[in-house]
């Protein structure tokens, strides 16, 4: 298929439709309201369901109810909205319902700002809602990658019967880039008759399905949590994705960065290399599961003096970088937030400073 020029938010919306998703519930919030605006026209064209809910709390449960039928469903929001959805996300993870949440992050905490940020890393990766659950978190660095991740998110959610989150920053949502919708990423929803509350008649058997999250017997709740943990462990084995950029045995500084921040880092790396400073980068594409071994392997390269986490947040990604590096190399953080994006020059200056000080 030919490439078309699209804004990130609209491309994400179209990707969901191309992936076979026909159901969308949302509440408006900057900087991603274009998704809802686009789908309010697009979904009726394909006989889909579009509904603007009364709050993100309600939307998260509309997603719950829709996912409980076994059909594909997704929502998009931005940071404060995801906070409100977090109650529902915990219940959805507990109930093992496949669905997709997109967070086009803006600055926080509180009302924060409306400009790009990566400040919801912990919320996405470490929890957000209560209880021992995990989301499979995909972090696109371009509009094309956002499209592909959006299309892959549905089969992934179904494979694990777990919510998948696309974690993008405001830049991903707002920038225009050429995109291609790959036909090979169109998939059929996985069979759901074993668990979906889709009515007994439809399944043609007199055995009812029950979707619940309450386990009053401690051993049952423990067993339920072990079952969930086994899924998360399987994600750690099968879904870790990352990209190495300019990682070779000569590198003296390793950057770790994701999303659009990683694109700034690429530019910085190219320019530092022109100056003769060998710097490389590991870019996590999945934030959970985190590419821990890839970061460690790159950090272990013979010449690496230090590892630098570059993020649009105040020291969140860096905790997983430290956990990955396991003390093998010193780990530093550099970041800005509130809509301020570190420039290539600032990243270069920080890289030079760290290298100078670690000689």
């Amino acid at each position: 298929m030919a490439k078309v020029l699209m804004k990130g938010n609209e491309a994400i919306a179209e990707a969901a439709v191309r992936a076979g998703c026909r159901n969308y519930f949302a509440y408006p919030i900057t900087p991603q309201s274009e998704v809802a605006e686009y789908l309010s026209r697009r979904l009726p064209e394909v006989g889909g369901v579009f509904l603007q809910g009364e709050s993100e709390v309600a939307v998260s449960y509309m997603i719950f109810g829709a996912a409980a039928t076994g059909e594909r469903v997704f929502t998009t929001s931005s940071s404060p909205g995801i906070s409100l959805m977090s109650e529902g996300i915990s219940y959805i993870a507990a109930a093992e319902l496949p669905c997709v949440f997109v967070n086009i992050m803006r600055g926080g905490p509180g009302l924060g700002g409306i400009l790009p940020s990566q400040a919801d890393y912990f919320q996405a990766v470490k929890g957000g809602g209560h209880g021992d659950y995990r989301l499979l978190v995909l972090a696109p660095a371009s509009v094309q990658e956002a499209v592909e991740m959006m299309m892959e998110a549905f089969p992934l959610a179904e494979k694990y019967r777990n919510p998948v989150m696309i974690l993008g920053d405001g830049l991903i949502g707002q920038m225009m880039e050429p995109v291609e919708f790959r036909d090979d990423l169109n998939t059929e929803p996985a069979p759901a008759d074993d668990w979906a509350t889709s009515g007994m008649d439809r399944r043609g058997r007199d055995r009812r399905n029950l979707i619940r999250t309450l386990y009053l017997v401690p051993s049952e709740l423990n067993a339920h949590n072990l079952k969930l943990k086994a899924k998360y462990d399987r994600m750690r084995r099968e879904e870790v994705r990352w990209e190495n950029y300019a990682v070779d045995p000569s590198i003296r500084l390793l950057l770790v960065s994701y999303g659009t921040m990683s694109r700034v880092c690429r530019t910085a790396i190219d320019r530092l290399r022109e100056e003769g400073l060998a710097v490389g980068m590991v870019r996590p594409k999945t934030l959970f599961p985190f590419p821990r071994e890839a970061v460690l392997a790159a950090a272990r390269q013979g010449e690496v003096r230090a590892v630098l986490s570059v993020e649009m947040s105040m020291g969140q990604l860096v905790e997983d970088v430290e956990w990955s590096v396991r003390g093998v190399r010193p780990v530093f953080w550099f970041g800005k937030c509130g809509g301020e994006v570190p420039t290539p020059e600032e990243v270069m200056a920080e890289a030079r400073r760290i290298l100078r000080e670690s000689e």
Binding site: V49, Y61, F64, G65, T69, E71, E87, D201
Partner: protein, 261 residues
């Protein structure tokens, strides 16, 4: 001669966890009878609340979802929008629906979602030990209003049926009671109407049911029935507050309330 009174197929053959004299069981039976009579068990999905009825799916024999506290109407919305062919109902207590879930129920009703809500008003939070609910009567003692509900601090009890009937969107909004056989007959009819309206894709329905919680009211089951009749019915009049045929309140609501009280 065949059996004239038997367990509805939609009701499971199992003892319930409800306290002796609790009216939750009556509500379950009425819902199950209606589902049997309408022959819709195979395409019905129930949504349980958080409250004493959290495990109510154990007593029904069709698909069920257990909601988060107050969120059942949003789950029902998602389910019904995606699968309009399903018959969907929520079953909710007064803490669940009139307090934490107030927003979800009002907006679902206002959108005219085509599902049924069975609303159990027992004037307390039963499950958590009898705390004050939005429906607790003035001066009623609860574990969090030990000196009686002081309306100067906590306002007047919320009348959900009246509140939802005030919405301009068409709906079927009715209040009945589970405390005397004559009211129970009417409650069954209301539940049947509500499910029938859903089958006709007509409107949202709320059937509020005045119920008892002898355990947390500190009464015997018999005392509780009398208390509900003497104290609750004057404040919570029975009747149809709105019907999709039009009119608000529906003709007859006033007389029916008077005759109920």
């Amino acid at each position: 001669m065949g059996k004239t009174f038997r367990r509805p197929q939609a009701l499971a053959e199992t003892p319930t966890h409800y306290c002796p004299g609790c009216t939750h069981g009556i509500a379950h039976r009425l819902v199950a009878e209606v589902i049997d009579e309408l022959g819709i068990r195979g395409r019905t999905v129930g949504i349980a609340p958080v409250g004493c009825a959290v495990l109510c799916y154990n007593y029904f024999t069709f698909d069920f979802i257990e909601a988060a506290h107050g969120r059942a109407p949003a789950i029902a919305t998602g389910l019904k929008r995606v699968r309009p062919d399903l018959v969907v109902f929520t079953y909710q207590g007064d803490g669940d629906l009139a307090s934490i879930g107030m927003s979800e129920i009002v907006h679902a009703a206002n959108r005219g979602e085509k599902f049924v809500t069975v609303f159990i008003n027992n004037a307390v939070y039963g499950m958590t030990g009898g705390q004050m609910a939005p429906t607790t009567l003035p001066d009623q003692r609860t574990t969090t209003s030990p000196f009686g509900r002081k309306v100067a601090q906590t306002g007047m009890p919320v009348k959900m049926a009246e509140l939802l009937a005030a919405l301009e969107t068409p709906g079927y909004i009715v209040r009945e009671a589970l405390i005397r056989p004559k009211y129970i007959q009417r409650a069954k009819k209301a539940i049947r109407n509500a499910f029938s309206y859903q089958l006709e894709n007509r409107c949202f329905s709320l059937v509020e049911l005045i119920s008892t919680c002898p355990t947390n009211w500190g009464m015997t089951p018999i005392e509780a029935l009398s208390w509900a009749e003497e104290k609750m019915l004057p404040y919570y009049p029975l009747g149809v507050f709105k019907s999709p045929e039009g009119g608000r309140p529906a003709p007859g609501a006033a007389e029916r309330s008077a005759d109920a009280a």
